[in-house]
Amino acid sequence: MSSTQSMLELLSPYPPGWGGVLLSGAFSTVMISLGAYLVGMLIGLLGAIGKLKGNRPVLFVLDVYTTAVRAIPELILIIGLYYAGTDGLNRILLTLGLPAIEINGFVAAIAVLGIVQGAYMTEVLRGAILAIPVGQIEAASAFGMRPFLRFRRIVLPALMPNALPGLANLWMSVTKDSALIAVVGYQELALATRLAAGNTKHYFLFFLAAAALYLVITLLSNVVFGLLESRFRRGQPKTV
């Protein structure tokens, strides 16, 4: 085993230390997660509204989407969507007579994880919307609010406290699912760690460091979501 001195050197943020590689990996993990989370939220919002208001074909498509995504292992989904997505897009471009493009790994990762998140988000938001007392929505309609205004002023603020625990869970799972992107070769924290560990042969040290970084991300997010929840629940009676 090496001494503590050389361990610190290995983890230092400047070359020849690998700390910088790890930190930039952690940064791209957070960026991918954020992007996927926002894409997922958009899909989830549209999906939830579609599931509540849509006609039969829309309902069927959304049901297939949410069931399929939740029944297939994430790893298979990510790899399948990654290859099918880039391949399909290039074929469409080809039929349109455009040259094939190399899809940016960052964008592809966000799209793929976003589609996975969207399915879970749909269910969370649907449940949260259903939990809003009907009277509040009816009252808004009685005041003559248009659907969009009603959504922005009444539904959105009312659904947030209901949805936040589920949304927090989804954020935790997307930060960890983003590690799966390593398998398709985009360099985020997990792959950066493997690179550092493989180069220095200090596997234990680097994977422990990566685990610590993920833990820090999780714990910080816990704090942020705690603050958000108390903010959105202001004015509500406290239980217990």
């Binding site: 029944a71 399948g80 099918a84 398998v183 997990a190 596997y203 040290l205 993920y214 833990l215």
Partner: protein, 229 residues
């Protein structure tokens, strides 16, 4: 769509399915036992044990399974040969395999999630039932075995079903540490035949089928006890 490869690959597919199911059964079985201990430690343990169990659950739930798996396989795996005498012992052929590391890390991870579920369920058992048991003169072990644990497991059943399905969906990660599970077989077919989607589809059908089987099985168990609403 070309599915003719199935004829030459079905023995591999079957072996892969067995590996996947084996990983699931081992991790859920041992993980559940570990989770009972962890949950009880968090509720009735002395303070240091409580903190230890808490910390364990936070750490394992706060880091990706992939990192845990790689930490065990690459990290601990590289330290194992340094243990004196292990190399010559009968354990070496088991400890050398990726399957061992996958099974261990899945078990530890599953236990952390399941412990949280069980902790909530143990706390949700109505107090009156425990008091009734105590007034019958049951020792705390008998009370746990006959009333507290069975009731808690009943309460947690729907959540446990969900956790088992999640665990099934985590098993393909084992392919990153050379386990020939179902997903690894699909990967091999892709490398051999250059077909990308067909093997993924076949494997997907199997996972979805297994998911349905698990949910159906848990529904049956749940239906054993009628619930009045």
């Amino acid at each position: 769509m070309n599915f003719s490869w199935i004829f030459s690959y079905w023995p591999l597919l079957a072996a892969g399915a067995v590996q996947t199911v084996l990983l699931l059964v081992i991790s859920v079985g041992f993980g559940f036992l570990l989770a009972i201990g962890l949950a009880l430690a968090q509720i009735i343990g002395p303070r240091w044990l409580r903190w230890l169990a808490r910390g364990y659950c936070t750490c394992l739930r706060g880091t990706p399974l992939l990192i845990q798996l790689w930490l065990l396989y690459y990290g601990v795996g590289s330290l194992l040969p340094l243990v004196p005498g292990l190399r010559g012992s009968f354990l070496w052929p088991i400890v050398r395999e990726g399957f061992f590391f996958a099974a261990v890390s899945f078990t530890l991870n599953y236990a952390a999630y399941e412990a949280e579920v069980l902790r909530g369920a143990l706390l949700a058992v109505p107090k009156g039932e425990l008091e009734a048991g105590r007034s019958f003169g049951m020792s705390s072990w008998t009370l746990l075995r006959r009333i507290w644990l069975p009731r808690a497991i009943r309460i947690a059943l729907p959540t446990i079903a969900g956790e088992v399905v999640l665990q099934l969906k985590a098993t393909p990660l084992a392919f990153t540490v050379t386990v020939m599970d179902l997903y690894a077989v699909a990967y091999k077919v892709r490398q051999d035949t250059l077909l990308v989607y067909e093997p993924l589809m076949v494997v997907t059908v199997f996972y979805v089928f297994l998911t349905l089987l698990i949910t159906r099985a848990f529904k049956l168990v749940e239906a054993q006890v009628p619930v009045r609403r």
